[in-house]
């Protein structure tokens, strides 16, 4: 079992002929991802890393039956490309680009809602089902199969924590980045629900950060979960009103503070690690 993607997922890479698209297609193929086709408007007919390239998503889907997509498309073109994938029935649609305009993100999410598609991101490293497949840009070497589901807002902080889990002998089912922007498709709650249902996931790690109320909403759902949840929240030391890199990471008008998130999570029965390296021991203890 796995969550959202597995070794059978047939992946389309949009924007495959650019530097990023080409590089990460190679890395995904190395990981074992079934990349069946790519798109790049105006460049149909060529091959990238042995993967056939088409002008449109419809053409690629007709020929190869892709069922999920990952976008290496520059931010200004994300709305069009993501909607093209959603319209063709692909899901999940992984949007790696950062700096996607907020209004575009809202429109993509609205269209995905209407069509029943899952959008991961924008501004995400993507998703990896350990040992099976990955859609996105995370390094290949940090994931190892095991019982822990991981959902995070941030990339490198997830790698840090996943690596410490792996070193402690705690492998992962699926690891997903929901993205650092204010408006993203897949939310913490959506992913927690999937982990709760997945028979192979025995514990969940949630890596959040200051800003917004996504962690507080997650806490509401954690109250009903049967599986243990260990959380870590970054940004304790961030001053209010200053945006710390991620568009979402800002304490505005008192909302989204570290303290409010930790309180909500603890009250919901989650264990909250004070420091990144405390996550693995807490997970080990929760699994017994």
């Amino acid at each position: 079992m796995a969550v959202l993607v597995d070794e059978k997922t047939k992946v389309l890479v949009q924007g495959i002929t650019g530097n990023q698209g080409r590089f990460h297609t190679q890395r995904m193929l190395e990981y074992g991802t079934r990349v069946v086709a790519g798109t790049s408007p105006g460049k149909g007919g060529v091959e990238v890393e042995g993967v056939p390239v088409y002008d449109t998503v419809e053409a690629a889907v007709e020929k190869h039956g892709a069922n999920a997509s990952v976008l290496f498309v520059p931010a200004p073109f994300v709305k069009d490309a993501a909607c093209e994938a959603i319209a063709a029935g692909l899901s999940p649609v992984v949007v790696v680009a950062e700096h996607v305009p907020l209004h575009d993100a809202m429109e993509v999410v609205a269209f995905a809602r209407e069509r029943g598609a899952v959008v991961i991101g924008p501004n995400t490293y993507g998703i990896c089902t350990a040992g099976k497949t990955k859609l996105g840009i995370p390094p290949n070497q940090v994931f190892h199969p095991g019982p822990v589901g991981v959902v995070a807002r941030s990339g490198t902080l997830s790698y840090e924590i996943v690596d410490s889990l792996s070193r402690a002998g705690l492998g992962q089912t699926t690891v997903v980045g929901i993205g650092g922007d204010r408006v993203v498709g897949l939310s913490f709650v959506d992913m927690l629900k999937r982990f709760e249902k997945d028979p192979e996931t025995r514990a969940v790690v949630m890596v959040g950060e200051i800003g917004g109320t996504a962690e507080e909403e997650a806490a509401e759902y954690i109250k009903q979960m049967t599986k243990p949840v260990v959380a870590y929240i970054a940004g304790r030391s961030a001053p209010p009103g200053r945006r710390m890199g991620h568009a979402g990471a800002i304490i505005e008008r008192g909302r989204g503070s570290f303290e409010s998130k930790v309180r909500a999570l603890r009250e919901a029965g989650a264990q909250v690690a004070e420091l990144p390296w405390e996550v693995a021991p807490l997970v080990a203890a929760a699994l017994g």
Partner: protein, 372 residues
Amino acid sequence: MKLYEYMAKAVLREAGLPVPPGRLCRTPAEAEAACRELGPVAVKAQVLVGGRGKAGGIRLADDPAAAREAAAAILGMDLKGYTVEQVYCESRLSIEKELYVGIAVDAQGKRPVVITSASGGMDIEDVPEKAIVRMPVALPWGLMGFQARELARRVGLAGELASQYAGVVEKLWQVFRAKDAELVEVNPLAVVEGRLVCADARLNVDDDALFRHPELPRVSEATELESRVRELGLAFVQLDGDIAVMANGAGITMGTLDVIQHFGGRPMNFLDAGGGSAAGPTAKALEILVQTRPKAILINIFGGITRCDEVAKAIVEVKRRVGIPMPLVVRLVGTNEEAGRAMLEAEGVQAFRTMEEAARRVVELAGEGRGA
């Protein structure tokens, strides 16, 4: 990007919203002239922080001499850390009633939301929850006329004022969408002689959409140092401690600051060198950090796409070319870790394997630096 009040009002005026006449002034003499032209005015500090009224940033003037005096008092004044460089002289309003109306992005609902209240004039955060009306707006359809009329009813308006109010909300919606706004806010939306007037206005535009808004002015809140680092394409925020920090990725950079604080240290900045950062920009950023004269520097790299040897190359380059006079602590793991580590050790720089050891060490060294 936050716009100054006078800029936000220019956008609103262009969209057909009722905005009082005003003049931007940089000197007391200009304020005097503006008052001669407009009659009695409010002289308002142009700053990007709220609460300027309470802080003495707004003064009323009945005649040109008083306007000159008011501007002289406000110009150059320090408002919550910002020096006032411009005032906006605006026709005085005799306000009968104050409402609030704003359109923002509801991150939870993943769509825009209109927020309005019959209790305007104060910070919306201070308005009791039961006096606030919220209406989500579905995309791509956008705000419809009936929603604007319903909002008018919910804030207790009827007749001519209700229809004016609905028109204001619809036009604000057009501004919100057309300008890629994160927030458009009119507070207060004032009733003046039976007519609605936008007495104050805020417009925050999405930075990531500025490329399609050449028509908008550009406003930067960054310090000179922040601008220099951001020009390298890196995310940078100045803080008030004495340990300089560079890491790769926003989350891990935030985590690094937290860990430094946990061990009793005080971070001096947030610097996200990004994933896949090459030696060139990394070296330039490090050089700028050295120039800020921290007590110690911590570089925390978990290399996925970022290659450890590239980071090591950057460090060695800066060390040889300009020197790094303060203690430098490096944590380096991930892709090409051994190569990176060997390069650093050849230069006498120790590289730690864990974030814990590295953070502990940099706090110790900064403490020694302060003691010296």
